[in-house]
């Protein structure tokens, strides 16, 4: 659902990047809530809910939503786009929930409002489920920590038994082996943007990224407004925005935004860019 934040500064020792959490946690200090285990927007949401000492009700929810959105507004231009985008999906989700909550309960006449309410229930259920897994993960951690201290016997087989070991079943050709080496040494998975919140992938992000690259590389600097000039489909605008995010991840561009919600200026800043990157950039979205 949410964008995973760019882990460009995340620790390399663990691909999951503990620092990523820290960075986001810093962003969130403005919320004045206890963030002992902050781990992303949903966590933040749960924290906010618990802060209001209420179960998830419409009232608390709209309050939480307001707080969340107002925090989002405060995110200044100095904030990383990645960090901000991390919150966008949750903000959208919350808005959905708020809208659903504001619907008069007794007047369920059209299918659309029923669907909205169902969507809200679904989101509640999902929050609860998320919390369940979060809680049980503490048990996992406890067990793993306890066991990592344990020592089991694990020594090399004595020479005299080694002759008896059955021949290794080997099926790799030398080319397979080289491919495996490449696989092992290349961080080749493409960070991708979840499009769960979009209803249908109408536009190819790869194509839009190609356009963005072409426009931006030629011009050097463009505002986002200029970049989407002439794009009259919302899907195209969204896809261009997402490709901007993706290109930022590839360190192909930088951006500037002088005031909140102000003009977004993009600058082509790729040190080494190969159009091959494009081939993989959109692969996840256009099927």
């Amino acid at each position: 659902m949410a964008l995973s934040p760019d882990a460009s500064t995340a620790s390399a020792t663990d691909g999951t990047g503990p620092e990523q959490t820290e960075r986001v946690a810093e962003t969130v200090e403005g919320f004045r809530v206890s963030l002992s285990n902050f781990d992303g927007p949903f966590d933040l949401l749960l924290n906010l809910i618990s802060k209001h000492e209420l179960d998830i009700t419409e009232v608390s929810l709209s309050k939480v939503t307001d707080e969340f959105i107002s925090y989002l507004r405060q995110l200044g231009p100095e904030e990383d786009l990645d960090e901000a985008s991390e919150f966008l999906v949750v903000a959208a989700t919350l808005l959905d929930m708020k809208v659903a909550g504001l619907l008069p309960q007794g007047e369920l006449v059209d299918a659309e409002s029923v669907a909205l309410l169902e969507a809200r229930d679904l989101l509640f259920a999902r929050l609860l489920q998320y919390r369940a897994f979060k809680e049980v993960s503490a048990w996992f951690e406890r067990c793993l920590r306890r066991e990592e201290r344990r020592h089991t016997r694990s020594v090399r087989l004595d020479e005299k038994y080694r002759n008896a070991v059955p021949e290794l079943a080997w099926s790799l050709s030398v080319d397979d082996f080289a491919a495996l080496a490449l696989l092992a040494m290349t961080p080749k998975e493409i960070p991708h943007v979840g499009l769960d919140h979009l209803h249908a992938p109408l536009v190819s992000i790869r194509e839009q990224a190609a356009i963005v690259v072409t426009l931006l590389r030629d011009a050097g600097t463009l505002t986002f407004r200029q970049l989407i000039a002439g794009a009259n489909q919302p899907g195209v605008v969204v896809a261009r925005f997402l490709s901007v995010l993706e290109l930022y991840r590839h360190a192909a561009l930088s951006f500037e935004q002088l005031e909140p919600l102000g003009e977004l200026t993009l600058r082509w800043s790729a040190q080494r860019w190969s159009d091959e990157n494009l081939a993989t950039l959109g692969a996840d979205y256009d099927r």
Binding site: Q129, R150, P191, D196, H199
Partner: protein, 201 residues
């Protein structure tokens, strides 16, 4: 060795136990009763009895001293471990670096996979509400999860946990995972709905 019918039970158990000790000394993985039975050429019940006797023996309940090692059942089999209270002594002796721990995101992803396996990456992502690709890769590289099969229709890979995970958790089977069904009643449905409804890409 079990010629003598008179004191057969004792001699047999001792003999089976001795053979088991030899096998347990050289194995790299927990060994199931069946595999041990095949190794020592004894019926499974006799092996189970001998294993139980060894556990008691090493724990000092058979008249001998408490041993510095113990026999534990983890990950679906039996394996020799340093006795827990001596772990610090051994850690000090072997030195070595602090193990790299799993991040919170990895732990949660692991939990989702453990409870919902077989499960695809996008299903996990829809529950975790974040991109889990790199986390899944870490868990795969650590051998805690594995690719079970590929969905014929969607081509999506389904993941599940490994026996190595059980060993790392110090449990013998997935049945020993804490029960969280009250929290997850209807969770499948929810995940399914979310997946169908919103997770298309």
């Amino acid at each position: 060795m079990t010629d003598d019918a008179a004191d057969a039970p004792h001699v047999a158990t001792d003999d089976v136990a001795r053979k088991l000790e030899a096998i347990l000394l050289i194995v790299e993985e927990p060994q199931s009763l069946v595999s041990l039975a095949a190794a020592v050429g004894a019926p499974v019940p006799a092996v189970r009895q001998a294993i139980e006797a060894l556990v008691d023996d090493y724990d000092g309940r058979a008249g001998g001293p408490v041993r510095g090692f113990e026999l534990r059942e983890v990950g679906g089999g039996w394996r020799l471990y340093v006795r827990e209270e001596l772990d610090d002594l051994v850690s000090e002796f072997v030195g070595g670096q602090a193990p790299s721990r799993l991040s919170q995101a990895a732990l949660e992803t692991l939990a989702v996979i453990a409870y919902k396996q077989p499960v695809t990456r996008s299903q996990v992502a829809s529950i975790r509400a974040v991109n889990v690709d790199s986390v899944v890769r870490t868990l795969l590289a650590r051998g805690l999860i594995t690719e079970l099969f590929t969905d014929a229709e969607t081509g999506a890979i389904n993941y599940g946990t490994t026996d190595a995970l059980l060993v790392h958790l110090g449990i013998n089977s997935l049945d020993e995972l804490p029960h969280i069904s009250p929290l997850l009643d209807g969770a499948d449905e929810v995940a399914g709905d979310v997946f169908d409804g919103g997770a298309r890409r």
